[in-house]
């Protein structure tokens, strides 16, 4: 079903001059302006097969993504803007141009200064003169490639087709019951997660574009930013966020939070307590999305109604040994899930945490094997291991601990070396320097030995 063509925009093509596609500081950007920007950037794109999209403004991300599709090129959506990540992607794909905007590139911004990036603004200087109809793309065309961390340290590519993305977010609109909200007016969505990640790409970018809703282009980093950006959008308004951002938002007492119509959370399970509080303070239902980069979103639940998840229409789960696979519906071919799942009926399941050595910090996924690989690739590190402490509070971010054997390096030097290799959220805090790791005769670190290390760690911290 995913080879059918989908238009770039879900709104009525004859109404692009009056359909608001985005809000920037309260000012509407209409769909026809977006189309002109897309065609303009497309005609000025350099001749490279791949475009690494490091834009910071969500509207700019959407412009570049569509311009790249229009030119039948492929977007690379980086998991972070660390120097090594960008360098690895450029080296693996070769024919790559990096495009950012004035939020992400330039002095003091996220992209390291020595990385050569073109600004989107410069690609928009000469405007496209021809007509700018809403383009349609084949369901088989790639929107772009998302990345997860592989066990050997290389970013693992996850190509996403246009068909899978469009069918997925149309199913999402149904699962989130957004059609009901549309009766009250044009829905506007504000995201606090990057659009270069699977959840952000779907829920903060494709969901509004495919369903004729507006997205917020405003920066939404601090709680105060989020509150202001929300008031810049008319109701009905939707906040797409994470348990961490939601907790900070509700804890920031001085913030004047406007009433919302829906809160969507993903990346980690939300505690029922926080969901209840959010529903009371924000005056809106809180719905969670479950998915992964490999398969996209596949299920939802209203947290306050119980812990069971409901699958999106036509999506099916299947057990093969200990692993759960998802298939059909917008997912298509079967893909393995990295979570421990208990199937309770054809459409429902319970989630019991991450499988194996996969970990999730602040919505970013990696494996301990990946982190250990990087730790042990540092010159001067003789042995080292990352440990994930057990979570004290569901909604707060848990930091990793690293145990390192080294004769020549300080903890600061190890941290600096790791900083250029891994995403900042996985940087260990603390780093414990050891004379040796408690490996058994076969050289393995048993789970028990690791747990004892963690316990000693906690004990020494509480002194």
């Amino acid at each position: 079903m995913n080879d059918a063509a989908f238009p770039l925009l879900g709104c009525d093509p004859s109404a692009v001059a009056t359909t608001v596609l985005a809000y920037r500081r309260g000012a509407p950007i209409f769909a026809n302006e977006y189309l002109r920007d897309v065609y303009s950037v497309a005609q000025n794109l350099p001749a490279a097969t791949y475009v690494l999209n490091v834009c910071g403004d969500r509207y700019n991300i959407a412009v570049l993504l569509a311009a790249v599709m229009l030119k039948k090129k492929i977007s690379l959506l980086p998991p972070n803007t660390a120097a090594q990540t960008l360098q690895t992607l450029v080296e693996s794909y070769g024919d790559v141009v990096i495009v950012g905007d004035n939020i992400s590139i330039g002095a003091g911004n996220q992209v390291p200064e020595f990385v050569t990036a073109i600004s989107l603004e410069s690609l928009r200087t000469s405007l496209f003169a021809g007509s700018t109809p809403v383009p349609s793309f084949s369901g088989e065309q790639l929107v772009g490639i998302l990345f997860t961390s592989g066990s050997t340290g290389e970013p693992t590519p996850n190509p996403r087709t246009w068909g899978a993305l469009c069918a997925g977010v149309r199913a999402e609109a149904k699962a989130l019951m957004l059609e009901g909200l549309c009766q009250e007016g044009a829905v506007a969505i504000l995201g606090t997660v990057p659009a270069q990640h699977s959840y952000g790409l779907e829920s903060t970018l494709a969901l509004p574009l495919q369903n004729g809703y507006a997205l917020s282009a405003d920066q939404s980093f601090y709680s105060a930013d989020i509150a202001v950006a929300l008031t810049h959008m008319p109701r009905p308004r939707v906040l797409v966020t994470t348990p961490f951002h939601l907790k900070l938002l509700l804890d920031a007492e001085a913030t004047n939070l406007p009433k919302l119509d829906l809160v969507v959370s993903a990346t980690a399970p939300l505690s029922p307590q926080l969901a209840l509080k959010a529903e009371a303070v924000l005056g809106a239902p809180v719905r969670e999305i479950y998915g992964c980069t490999e398969a996209g979103q596949i299920a939802s639940r209203r947290t306050t109604e119980g812990e069971a998840w409901t699958l999106f229409p036509n999506v099916r789960l299947e057990k093969r040994g200990d692993t759960t696979w998802v298939a059909d519906g917008h997912v298509g071919d079967a893909r393995a899930l990295g979570d421990v799942i208990e199937i309770t009926s054809d459409q429902h399941f319970l989630l019991h945490g991450r499988a194996g050595d996969l970990i999730n910090v602040a919505g970013k996924r990696t494996s301990l094997a990946h982190l250990n690989f990087h730790l042990n690739s540092i010159d001067g590190v003789e042995d080292g291991v990352f440990v994930m402490p057990s979570a004290a509070d569901d909604d707060l971010i848990v930091r990793l601990t690293a145990y390192v054997v080294t004769r020549e390096l300080t903890a600061e030097q190890i941290l600096a070396a790791l900083r250029s290799r891994i995403d900042a959220v996985f940087l260990p805090r603390p780093i414990r320097l050891m004379s040796e790791l408690p490996r058994n005769q076969t050289g393995k670190l048993t789970q028990q030995a690791m747990n004892e290390l963690s316990v000693e760690n906690v004990a020494s911290e509480s002194k």
Binding site: Y222, A252, T255, R419, R429
Partner: protein
């Protein structure tokens, strides 16, 4: 380090459970990335602590944003200018 800077350093160390003593922090070292080595999650956690302690909210559109995190000294100066309690 001034009294205000030391008070802020203590908030940072306590909020983030850092392994340094507050008075060991170099007030001129960058807070973000190198130096103190904090990331964006840390900055959000500190921003919450600052709003509770000093009664004002940090924002991205503040024109001084790029200089605020150049050092603990700059952040402290920004707080002293903006605080309501």
């Amino acid at each position: 380090m001034t009294e205000a800077e030391l008070a802020l350093a203590e908030i940072v160390v306590k909020t983030l459970n850092l392994e340094v003593a507050a008075d060991e922090i170099d007030p001129d070292a960058p807070i973000y990335g190198e130096g103190l080595g904090l990331d964006s999650i840390d900055i959000l956690e500190i921003s919450l602590a600052i709003s509770k302690q000093y009664g004002f909210q940090l924002k991205s559109d503040d024109e001084n944003n790029k200089t605020i995190y150049k050092s603990l000294r700059n952040l402290s100066a920004h707080i002293e200018k903006s605080r309501t309690k």
